[in-house]
Amino acid sequence: MNSVISKLGLDRFSGVYLGVILIIVFGFATPEFLTPATFHVIASSQSIAGIIAIALLIPMVAGQYDLSVGTNANLTGLVVVALQGYWGWSLPAALVAGVALGVLIGFVNGFIVVVLKVDSFIATLGVSSILTASVIIVTNSVVPPQPTSAGWKSLTQFEFGGFQIVIVYLIVLALLAWWLLEFTPAGRYLHAIGSNRDAARLAGVRVNRWSWIALVLSGGIAGIGGILYTSLTGPSFTFGATLLLPAFAAVFLGSTQLFPGRFNVWGTLLAIFVLALGVQGLQLLSGVTWLSPMFNGIALIAAVALAVSRGRSRSKGSKQSKEVEPPNEAAERHDSPALTGVS
């Protein structure tokens, strides 16, 4: 039974199978589902979610949470709009300032985590709240008008082979993150820190420095995501909060896909789109508005539960190797990403 599962890749590729099943089921259930429009909507709307998920993924690999990615995106997007609308900044200047703001937020997160030694979960939760307040301070509670310049709109609002350009941005960012995490020494260091912080330090990895860098990258990428979102759908006060949960669900669910037990880029993106297929299909069927948060909440819990049980079953498998030593020695300590991420 187990060998059948692994042959078909039901464990590593369960997301792919689920995606196919969702498409078939919803395709039969509602004629509106299997249309190009559905896929274009999912592609463009989920590209931003994917970018935020990648922002979150990088510190998660190193065992650091970044709960501020959503509000960071929100604030950055609004500031870029405000700089152009209220202060008359040129588009390039506003874009540079926006990315710099995202990076700065990441830097502050890193400072709180590394220098003040506050747990990243608490640190970024606090920063997230501060950013929510900053949104109101910066805008004076008035949504700034969408800049009218052609450049601002064409940043995101032109099509590329039928799809919005943002999916190309997502793919470029994903390739960069993939390269960083899987093909550079830096990526190895981040994975090592996430896998066993103490052992990483004893192997000469500068744990603090790399944790800080991961949070800075996260802040910068979240900022870019925020700018793109605002250009695509217009400024709003609340979009940031809605991006955080799907990102978390995708990162955890992604760690059970393709390379199980390892937070990885393509697993994360696969998860983002499969989750979106589910939400979109159910939305078409039922038309209720509470579906997305409900679905994402359940998906997050299910993803973490799955990652934990995966770690457990892997530890069972290891016991089959021949052990000459007493069983208590063989009792392995298994750190599934879901668990180490929390520590």
Binding site: P185, N196, A203, K322, V324, N328, E332
Partner: protein
């Protein structure tokens, strides 16, 4: 005496792992109120016996154990507890930030009355248990404010608490004095005497032979899984005990079999440590030449455990300077130590040494990836080839499993992989903490071979170990540590199992308790 009258009656207990008996035909009896000392080197089968008694190991068929006259069902911690077996381990499992009272009821839970915790009844019982062991502690004191012997006493008192107000039959104390300062030991021994006087049979496991006279009534010695003998304490000398403990013949044989290559005495030192202070360690200095293997011996609490992490920088030192081939090392910085050519294998490979959720290859190459990083990408092919080379060189089993997770290997093979990780970068100084702990015999030999080979190639090696035979077979020089100081330095022909043990137990001669 018949079985009914013994607090503990063990007959022909055998326990095998993977077909290999680690405990064979072991017999032991303890009378109520008796203090019975159990001696044995690491790996002699002591811990296996204790774990079997506690129900964590299931002994082989044919073994028989009775506790207070009742047959013990094997493999059930619950039954072991119900029949009245209690255990106090070296790690006392006390919570320092909680009160004496709360610690007392941590495992057995507070008495309840009408659905709420009955504090008054709890205080009464706690007080009575403490009185049994002769301790008068304020129940509201935090454990962190207690003296070390009082903490052990508290753990003993907690073990004596029972649900049905019956006195437990047997109390096993596993090296309770290992980390106690000398001055505290007498206080603890008094506590144990009081406990025995209450009718409890006590199995007292220790490395300190000097504690036994005038304390235990009988003493048993385990060696290589077999009982060497049981004697009345008054009828056996210290020297006889040491010989039984380490096996005179074996020790002599081992010494002649060693073929250690002496390092070049004229070479300038690879590493010079001076005035190192950390934790219990006081003013430690050492200088090691390239190719030399130096051993550090000492029990928990002797300061031995602090030395290697403090040199490497994973433990922050209070004072001291370290010079590696003329360059002063920045203290407390493992990355700086590695840059100067120092490697360190920590004692606990699961929590400190390795990345269990990563592949063997990733574990092996983490320290240096430069050679695989070409044109902005880590190249997989040369990296896998490198890992494969080390797999072959270290004879890692299963072969060609470079892409398997580290957690899937056996302890010995994990240790080989982690040793390979360091040998790969060709360190000038290699620090090894308990390099063969929890490792099977074959892997231990392989690890020793690789350490010797590294030394031959010019690496200065320092090994910290509680395994005397390991040190005797590998080292050119052994420092014996006691109470935070180097008690003696053994060189040349004196680096033998016997001399290390004699040196270690020599405080007894000094105090003249038993004539050797």
């Amino acid at each position: 005496m018949s079985t009914e009258e013994y607090a503990l009656d063990v007959r022909s207990m055998t326990k095998s792992f993977a077909g290999k008996a680690v405990l064979q035909d072991f017999d032991l009896t303890i009378e109520p109120g008796e203090i019975h000392a159990l001696l044995g080197q690491n790996g002699s089968g002591k811990s296996t016996f204790i774990k079997a008694l506690a129900g964590y190991h299931e002994p082989d068929a044919g073994s028989f154990v009775a506790v207070g006259g009742k047959d013990l069902a094997f493999g059930s911690p619950k039954d072991s507890f119900a029949l009245g077996c209690r255990f106090v381990h070296q790690d006392l499992a006390l919570i320092l930030d909680m009160s004496v009272l709360d610690n007392m009821f941590m495992s057995s839970s507070f008495p309840m009355r009408m659905g709420v915790v009955d504090k008054r009844e709890g205080r009464r019982r706690a007080k009575r248990a403490l009185e049994t062991v002769g301790l008068d502690l304020d129940l509201d004191t935090f454990v962190k404010d207690l003296r070390p012997a009082e903490r052990t006493g508290l753990a003993v008192a907690r073990a004596l608490l029972s649900h049905n107000n019956e006195t437990p039959s047997v109390l096993v104390l596993d090296e309770p004095t290992a980390s106690l300062p000398t001055i505290e030991v007498q206080a603890l021994l008094a506590t144990v005497r009081r406990t025995a006087a209450a009718g409890v049979g006590i199995l007292y496991v220790t490395h300190h032979l000097d504690e036994i006279p005038n304390f235990a009534q009988r003493v048993s010695v385990l060696r290589n899984g077999r009982l060497v003998g049981t004697w009345k304490t008054a009828e056996i000398s210290h020297r006889e005990l040491v010989e039984h403990l380490i096996g005179e013949a074996l020790a002599a044989e081992m010494n002649t079999q060693r073929d250690k290559v002496d390092s070049d005495l004229s070479a300038s030192p690879a590493i010079v440590v001076s005035g190192l202070q950390a934790g219990r360690l006081e003013d430690f200095s050492i200088s090691v030449r390239p190719g030399e293997i130096v051993g550090l011996y000492g029990l928990t609490g002797s300061g031995r455990e602090e030395i290697l992490p403090a040199i490497f920088g994973s433990l922050s030192a209070d004072a001291g300077t370290i010079v590696v081939q003329g360059k002063t090392l920045e203290m407390g910085r493992p990355d700086a130590a590695i840059r100067l050519g120092i490697g360190y294998m920590p004692p606990d490979r699961k929590t400190l040494g390795g990345f269990m959720s990563q592949t063997a290859r990733h574990n092996m190459t983490l320290l240096s990836m430069k050679q695989f990083f070409r044109g902005g990408f880590l190249r997989k092919k040369p990296e896998v080839a490198e890992a494969a080379r080390w797999f072959e060189r270290l004879n890692v089993q299963p072969q060609k499993a470079e892409e398997a997770l580290l957690s899937t290997f056996s302890g010995g093979n994990q240790q080989k992989i982690l040793l390979g990780k360091w040998l790969r970068i060709d360190p000038k100084v290699m620090l090894l903490d308990e390099p063969s702990q929890g490792v099977d015999v074959g892997a231990k030999l392989e690890v020793h071979k690789q350490i010797a080979l590294a030394a031959t190639n010019g690496t200065a090696v320092i090994i910290g170990s509680s395994d005397v035979e390991e040190l005797a077979s590998l080292c050119e020089r052994v420092l014996v540590l006691r109470d935070g100081h180097v008690a003696e330095e053994l060189t040349g022909a004196r680096v033998t199992v016997k001399d290390i043990n004699t040196s270690f137990h020599s405080d007894i001669n000094r105090e003249g308790l038993v004539h050797a």
